[in-house]
Symmetry: C6
């Protein structure tokens, strides 16, 4: 039966945990309710693929600004599924590949997944997989077409597949690239905009003692926050080095980053 088949295949495919761990460099900090919601939604999709035989393919897109935590969240969901086949398709493993080489690498992962009864594929950073650059714009149409087909292709009888894709693309980019209809569901991963979240993170990472932290939070009260978790963690580590000047360094950098971001966009 199904679960026997599942067991059989387990050793054959395996899961590259190290690679997935690398995506979650600094753990997941549950700094807001939204993070909890995203993680539980992920669990629901995993369950659906495991149980409903009418939907052998479920594809989910995690989208949001750069550094908001998309990859770490997708990798965490994928690992939590404990499916026998979990693979990461990442631009980092294809540096310098030709378009053709990228296409066959992507195609191979999907074809391999079709041999496992239950699979997760994390398709990380779609814009980079496509060699996308806004200027032009330019991108690899052949890789795009490969994805457009594979993201909708139903696995063969008796196989089920969950696709977790991540991207910085906005809705308008997705539409331009005919990707609007590719995903069954979309999850938005936002930047941090609440001082409460910053507070939570500072507590967890113990950069400041309580007094210091309070001063920091109070200094940032007037700031219109809009920062990715990734950049926030980098600023915390920079400030940590600056022993005599931690508070100022932290507050000033946060402020300057938020200001630049606004003029940049």
């Amino acid at each position: 039966d199904f679960f026997a088949a599942l067991d059989e295949v387990h050793p054959a495919f395996g899961v590259n945990d190290e690679e997935l761990q690398q995506c979650v460099q600094n753990q997941i900090i549950k700094f807001s309710d939204n993070i909890e919601k995203i993680i539980s939604d992920g669990q629901l999709f995993i369950d659906q693929v495991r149980k409903s035989s009418r939907t052998p393919l479920v594809s989910v897109l995690l989208h949001g600004p750069p550094g908001s935590g998309k990859t770490a969240l997708a990798a965490t969901m994928a690992m939590s599924s404990e499916f026998p086949f979990i693979k990461l398709i990442s631009p980092e493993n294809m540096v310098g590949f030709s378009e053709t080489a990228k296409m066959s690498m992507i195609n191979k992962v999907f074809n391999d997944s079709y041999k496992s009864p239950l699979s997760v594929i994390v398709v990380d950073n779609i814009e980079r997989l496509l060699n996308w650059v806004e200027l032009g714009p330019r991108f690899s149409n052949s890789i795009l077409q490969t994805l457009l087909v594979l993201l909708k292709k139903i696995p063969p009888k008796g196989r089920r597949l969950l696709i977790l894709a991540t991207t910085n693309f906005k809705q308008s980019d997705l539409k331009d690239l005919s990707m609007s209809d590719c995903f069954n569901s979309e999850i938005y991963v936002p930047n941090i905009k609440e001082l409460l979240s910053v507070n939570h993170i500072l507590e967890e990472l113990k950069l400041f003692n309580d007094n210091e932290k309070d001063r920091v939070i109070s200094d940032l009260k007037e700031v219109k926050l809009n920062i990715g978790i990734k950049k926030l963690l980098m600023i915390i580590e920079m400030s940590r080095q600056d022993v005599d000047n931690k508070i100022e360094k932290f507050v000033d950098t946060i402020i300057s980053v938020n200001t630049t971001e606004i003029t940049k966009n």
Copy 2:
């Protein structure tokens, strides 16, 4: 004579039923009169090819929004013909192919069909066969030219061919691509816009008991429906998993999908 020739060829070509079945994943539900009309029109074209020696080539285009059921309908028509040669030309079988490889695969199917007295070719998802993307727009002109010629090329003496093509292209796209004159007839496959159709489908798929269903239908009364059968089926399955919350989940998702679609376009 003709029917002897027909019989002879039968074993040589065969029909890949599994592949065609895969296109009709969840059966055809006759949720509206229009669906019945489409299926009977299909039967008329099959008859014409079988009987009229003056029209050895009949080509029909099924067009409509994404997920409206085009592929399932075309595959169903093709299988119902019971012609000795029925082939599917689908992007899903050409992932990662070069343009040249795609061209010869397409060309081969047509050349093979010319050897059978009666053939059906399903040309699925023309925009994907062409590597079309709206941004640019970009597409493979060499594959387009191959199709432009093959869709109009009359089979050799004594051979007859029915072409059933599907596409998301709008009339304006077809014109831009010089495809307006390629087809002898066009069939429009619309989204679901009537609550009655939803009711029909819910009944058939037994997601709700009668009470529940009535509440759902009443909740959706004010909604301007515009949804493809494919997406509707996905939402039904998602809601089915959410045992305690089926109704809300179904109603909310339907509403949010219809809203997004509008802002998207």
Copy 3:
């Protein structure tokens, strides 16, 4: 002398009658005076090439809307010449060819023709030979350049050549492609716009008895006709299948086609 040379070469080149016949699928119906005029003009060009030693090259373009009968007329003229060398250059024989392959195929036909004292070359569907598509527009410049030279290249001493080309291109397209100066003469092949022509064709093809035909013609009186002979013949055959409903089917389809054409353009 000349006619001896002509005889000698005859067996060497031959004429592929079957291929040319295939272009005239449904005979030539002389449904209007214009058709007679076109055919007699064709005869004049054939005579000129045969007799005037000062014009060893005469090139004629048959242009008009899709399906107006250009190919059938060109093939008919070519066959009527009874020259020892008659060849068809058609996109249908080059499906999937590379640009280079197309170029040498075209070049070969012309070079072969230079060995016969009297030749006709039918260059069918120039826009398709060029891989033309309006979107862009895109086309094969190398094939265009090949044609631009060959259409004006005078055969070697003692050889004479008649070129009959067909195209859907409009004058403006020809100008854009530097083809305005390529042809010595142009023949326009129009759509059917007179009810009298439809009447003539219906009589010839015996779709209706006299009563029925009169009703049909009367039903179409108000319609602004603009239809190609090719499409008209397809509609006749479709209606023929619909035994109980012939008249309505014919009239309705004619009307809907004429309406769509207008909105299309």
Copy 4:
């Protein structure tokens, strides 16, 4: 000395007279003073190259509308030089060549010329050599660059070269292509605009008897003439075939051609 060297080289290079003759299909008719002027100017350039050691390279461009007689005039000048090296670079000899093949063919002719003390190269139909098409516009930049250098490259010591190029390009095209500075001199070859010229040509070609000719000329008095010699000769031959109807045919075609030309441009 110089003339000895000249003699020596004579047999080594030779001149393909047949090819050059082919360019002057129907002789040169001196139908106007301008034609005489062009021919005597050509003689001056030939003399300059032969005599002045300070100008080892003289390049002349013959430009004008299609069919005005450029090629025939250039070939005639070239042959009249009686230089030991006279070569024609013509698109007609490079049908289907790749850009690279064209470039080396062109380059070879120039390199060969550098070995003869006195040479003429006819570069016929620059726009076709460049694969030029107005749409885009598109052209072969690599062939253009080859010409841009070779047209200005001074032959090695003791060698002299006359370049006679022909083109339909207008001044603005030449400027766009950086060709404005390539030529030492330019000769404009106009269409026929005088009825006197037509009269001269008709007399020479004996299409009509004197009475007929007078009627023709009188019929054309109101027409704003603008026709190339090439087209005029074709019309004369066409009319010659139409024995009973010569005058009308000739007059009508002349008129219709002049009218079309205007709307075309």
Copy 5:
């Protein structure tokens, strides 16, 4: 432990000091406070990479106008780190390379760095690495994509990397190229705008005696200075040759350069 590993690797990788010295042709003159600030900031990043295990990757961009001293400063910082692996990725070492060859050279340097516990990579002149030219604009997207991935790719466990990149790109260019999010920090290297800096440099390079220098400075008082250190050094050397005319030559050239720069931009 870590420092043992560090020592071990030292001989294996080495540092090409000569190449880096070549980048600092004329030493670093500390002609303003800003230069001191830049150098001490550089030291901070080196310390961070050496000490914080949470930030295994720190990437810094030095940007500013042409010739402002970016490369010399980056090379100086890199050498001051004394890390066991210090490599320069420079367009000067890739002249005439294909895009593919460039990509693998870049990729190789990064992969090599991942084997050293502590590394610095100087990525010099990004716009030139990308084959950037404003006209179009054109650039190598494949090299851009390679950089976009490598600049963000975290080294494997236990390895740490400092990236020092230099560029003339403005913020808007970086945004167009999707490079805005690639760097953790940015350092602006400005042109010289203060007469005090010029004074400092003239003193150090002993072009003038004190009297002369005072005259020069006074002559330049009204000039709106905006000049790169690189150009200033060239002008000093030019003037030095012009023994009798040093002061005028220096003052005039400085003035004319500043004027041209303004009209140029």
Copy 6:
């Protein structure tokens, strides 16, 4: 020591004097003060490279309208240096080369120069090296990038290089091509605009006797002169052939050239 090294290398590299002489076809006529100034400036750059060890690379651009004498002047400067390595990079030696072949030829000359203690490289006609054409515009970006790097690359220790480049590009073109910052100095080579210069040249070349010359000069008094030395020399030679008509021919051609130039631009 340095001068010993210089002597040693002398035989190894050599200078192709013939090739450089070919660039100065008709000597340098010092027809104006500006010409003297240009030549003495050239001498200054040569001295600087020979003497100042702080500026191992000096690059100079000679720019101006077509035929103003740029190449002849650059070649003359180069030869006057008597450096052991003097090479010409000219499009005339690369006719029909692929972009790659051009790049390696250019690269080789620079690499060779790095082996000589003192070198001059003449980079002739940059726009032609780049396959530049205004239409588009089109050019070889890979060759441009090669030049952008090589023109700024400092030779290895103990080697010094003078680069003399020529071009028709205007400042705006140079900016578009990112070439504005490539050269240490720029020399403008203007057209002839003074009647005095024409007088000087006519005297030197003895086309007229004194009486004739005076008449010519007086005839040209009202003409707004703007002519390159190259074209002027060609007109002188043309007129010389026309024995009976020298004065008129000269004056008329000068006038017509100056008029055309104006309407051309």
